[in-house]
């Protein structure tokens, strides 16, 4: 647990699949989740992939620092275990499933998750946390930055390139900012959040899915890390966005220009 390599924590979230159009429930308290396809949050796939690539680069001496261990973690209902098996089939070594009852409001708030992760970082002697830049359900984009703040660690958000420079853990991260990219230099321990352009996540192969079933998956609770699922934000309602009515089609370019003038857009 105390070597000089990377001990990586990859928090992942089970969310409604990105290709599904969510429907607001009748009670206006959230979206319908029952019977809806769920999968690993796309940004978390990127962070799992990056952790594995760091290991592969280290093993091939393409990176000056080796990966010791990759821990995947998810907080949620029983089906999170599937999400964690996927992460382990991709290449994570072990997993923690933090048992939290499913609820229509998207689960524990980012601050709660960040506090829990802070506990995990300490108990597992983690020195690199790789998170998705946002979960595509709540679209909040907070957890990584909150965790870095609580730990007092440097952060690199929306990373599109991660490059370790030496065995002591000096790292350069290129990240997406408005209008372009920026490169930062930091030193372990560190929190990185992933952006779309970081990598192309691999598919879990069948043999790896079988192997993943034998990898250790430990059940935990928020209380194990001294945290309770306290809500600071109260959901008053969830509604459908105002529907936009298509205005129909025109025959040709002149028709298009005419309609745009009529609508006052030209």
């Amino acid at each position: 647990k105390t070597g000089r390599g990377l001990r990586i924590l990859v928090p992942v979230k089970r969310v409604i699949d990105y290709a599904v159009k969510p429907r607001v429930n009748k009670a206006n308290t959230g979206v319908e989740t029952a019977g809806v396809k769920h999968s690993l949050n796309p940004f978390d796939e990127l962070s799992v992939e990056e952790a594995i690539r760091l290991r592969e680069r280290g093993a091939k001496n393409q990176s000056p620092i080796k990966v010791e261990n990759i821990l995947a973690l998810s907080a949620g209902g029983a089906k999170c275990a599937d999400t964690l098996r996927t992460a382990m089939a991709m290449g994570a070594d072990r997993a923690f499933h933090v048992d939290v009852a499913d609820s229509p409001d998207g689960g524990p708030e980012p601050l709660t998750i960040a506090k829990m992760l802070q506990g995990v970082v300490k108990s597992e002697n983690i020195n690199l946390v790789l998170l998705g830049k946002q979960a595509i359900d709540g679209d909040q984009g907070q957890t990584g930055q909150m965790l870095a703040g609580l730990l007092g660690w440097p952060q690199a958000t929306q990373a599109s390139k991660v490059e370790f420079k030496d065995a002591e853990g000096s790292v350069e991260v290129t990240h997406e900012v408005d209008g372009g990219v920026e490169t930062l230099r930091a030193k372990l321990p560190l929190v990185i959040t992933t952006d779309l352009r970081l990598n192309e996540p691999r598919y879990a192969t069948l043999p790896n899915i079988m192997k993943a079933k034998k990898k250790p998956l430990e059940k935990k609770t928020l209380a194990d890390f001294g945290v309770e699922d306290k809500k600071r934000l109260k959901t008053l309602k969830v509604t459908e966005p105002p529907a936009r009515q298509g205005g129909g089609k025109v025959e040709d370019v002149d028709g298009l220009i005419g309609k745009l003038k009529e609508l006052g857009a030209l």
């Binding site: 679209d139 920026e182 109260k234 205005g247």
Partner: protein
């Protein structure tokens, strides 16, 4: 102006109690509004205020209480703080002048903000939902032990906020019970700040001199004479249907020139290398709400619609008559974009 309603925030209750204890019983709603005090966190680059700063101020003004602006960086007291002081409706501008904050690195900027928030006893802290705000404010919120509200598109009262979730497929109304409300706002939802005529005083902020744990190495920003994508009146956007970067540049750029429009792109176009990452419109890219959004070769996946469906007028050119984009477009043209877009460009230029 939104007057605070009788909500049950612990801090408000406490403050109201103290207030009532020392004043006459006729404490009006407007007097209570004075207890609300907002800090708008401004983003500056090379001494120039960025657009996200104006949306932060617009949102702060919507809350109704006094608004203080905060700016930090190299030489700001002679540049961006002066610019901020001219904005109408600001009470004061707190400025911290130091090279250490010039790049907005959250590791030292967050403790700087926390110190100034605590000193100023603000009840609300707001920044734009730009890369700067997104990276910085959650760190600030965690240090203050409050749960941030991100990408707010509507303010219903001092503690109740509206924001899109699930790529804009649902709208959440949420009430914060935290003593300090920390939130970021969507630029296209908060506009209309008067940038001239104000006369706020500039005061020195506290500087805790927290160490910077990251070092800024370099940046590569796409240089462009075009209007900024996030705030442009018109946006011309291209997708996978453009087939290559050469075709994207040949077909989309002249149309954008003819309209004086900013250029956007779908994720498919960006992933295929047709356009720069920073031009991506959608759930994980930019949100735009121009007067005219004209797109070609974009099918209209929900992640893309999330970034543009608040546009005033949407026009689409696509060869597939069943593309989902036509369900939201005010005007649609079915056809080959390689013929239709150049024809449209020529006809617009000759008008």
């Amino acid at each position: 102006m939104l007057l605070p309603q009788a909500r049950t925030s612990a801090l408000r209750a406490l403050r109201a109690q103290q207030f009532l204890a020392r004043t006459a019983p006729a404490a009006s709603a407007s007097a209570l509004a004075r207890l609300l005090s907002t800090l708008a966190v401004l983003e500056q680059r090379d001494g120039k205020l960025q657009n996200s700063s104006l949306s932060a101020i617009a949102a702060a003004q919507k809350l109704g209480g006094p608004v203080t602006a905060f700016v930090a960086g190299a030489g700001v007291k002679a540049s961006s703080a002066v610019e901020a002081a001219k904005i109408q409706g600001l009470e004061k501008v707190v400025a911290v002048e130091s090279e250490a904050y010039e790049k907005g690195l959250p590791e030292n900027y967050a403790p700087l903000l926390v110190e100034n928030i605590q000193k100023g006893e603000y009840t609300h802290v707001v920044a734009g939902h730009s890369a700067f705000g997104k990276s910085l404010l959650p760190r600030v919120a965690a240090l203050l032990d409050v749960q941030q509200v991100s990408d707010v598109t509507g303010i219903e009262s001092e503690d109740t906020f509206v924001r899109p979730i699930y790529a804009g497929n649902a709208i959440l109304t949420v009430q914060s019970t935290d003593p300090i409300k920390v939130f970021t706002v969507r630029g296209t939802s908060f506009q209309g700040v008067e940038t001239e005529g104000g006369s706020a005083t500039i005061v020195d902020g506290a500087d805790p001199n927290a160490p910077a744990q990251t070092e800024w190495v370099s940046e590569e920003l796409a240089k462009s004479e075009r209007p900024d994508l996030g705030t442009a009146e018109r946006v011309v956007s291209g997708g996978r249907g453009l087939k290559s970067k050469e075709e994207f540049d040949r077909v989309i750029v002249p149309l954008a020139d003819a309209l004086g429009a900013a250029i956007g792109a779908s994720r498919a176009a960006v992933d295929s290398g047709f356009a720069d990452n920073s031009l991506q419109v959608g759930q994980t890219g930019k949100n735009v709400a121009p007067q005219l959004y004209l797109c070609a070769g974009i099918s209209g996946a929900i992640q893309h619609l999330a970034g543009m469906k608040d546009s005033k007028v949407i026009a689409a050119i696509n060869k597939d008559p069943d593309a989902p984009i036509f369900q939201v477009a005010d005007v649609g043209l079915v056809g080959d974009l390689f013929e239709k877009v150049p024809e449209l460009t020529e006809k617009l230029k000759s008008q």
